[in-house]
Symmetry: C2
DNA sequence: CGGTGAAATAAGAATGAGTCTCATTTTCAT
DNA sequence: ATGAAAATGAGACTCATTCTTATTTCACCG
């Protein structure tokens, strides 16, 4: 439960106040190891309004405490951001399963692209689409 | 106008019939060098129904004749897929401008990740987010 | 060529994700 | 405790996308 404390602390420092909605969203994210969609959070917290879910996620994202993962068309998913950790995802095109991976040489290559570009690159995302081992045998 | 012929041909081979809607969508995509959103296509082709725009794009995507580009939350954009060509995009977080880039060592790194993974990787996307030179000076 | 049945189409209703509004409740600095 | 300011929940709203359906068009056949 380290991340939830850090998240609350950072939000307080940033001038936001702690309410019931914020606490519940943070608790939920703290307990998840993988990405959860905004609407699933909304569903799992019936006493929290949709707007509060989205507002909290937005604040957390701005402070780099969560990372938004966008997978093909569907609703955006969020996962907590642990310091010093950086990964991307593979998504199974059949079952939708999301599996994280990290690769240093990929990161280096991306960093080099950013150096050479006219853009001032702030962040990046990589998504690999494919078939996961579980789905591989099926029709 | 090579791509439009190839696209029509492949659609015919795949068993789809040629109608006015399909022709117009293909013409429009053939004339664009950069990604266009589905709704912009719909707007620019007033005589074509929305459903036909989406259906045609879906068929073209299935046959790998167009590539769908998903940029943060907004509506998905489509660009034609020329053989032997493969690029990714940088998006300006201020003005939304989309700029293509390609990088061989990035592709190699991604390919290596795919080799080592349990997933059978089919495709991938890379998106760099940043500030474009035009927006860089502004407040 | 003209008929025919299947596929394509246009219009717009329906869905679903995400945003906005606003009246009410909480928070927190005093 | 108190009161100004922020957070909240309910639901209306927007916008992209999908679905439905009646109609039109296509490609094949004689």
């Amino acid at each position: 439960m380290r991340w939830s404390e850090r998240a609350s602390g950072r939000l307080n420092e940033a001038g936001f106040r702690a309410g019931a909605a914020r606490r519940q969203v943070i608790e939920l994210l703290a307990g998840e190891h993988c990405a959860v969609t905004a609407l699933e959070i909304d569903r799992r917290l019936p006493s929290v309004g949709r707007a509060s879910v989205y507002r909290t996620l937005e604040q957390l994202e701005q402070l780099d405490l969560v990372h938004r993962v966008e997978v093909g068309g569907e609703s955006a998913a969020y996962e907590r951001n642990d310091p010093g950790e950086h990964h991307h995802h593979m998504v199974c095109v059949r079952c939708g399963r999301l599996v994280p991976f990290e690769d240093a040489s990929l990161e280096r290559a991306i960093h080099r692209v950013g150096e050479g570009a006219e853009f001032e690159v702030i962040s990046h995302d990589v998504l690999l689409r494919g078939v996961c081992p579980r789905c591989h045998g099926d029709g």
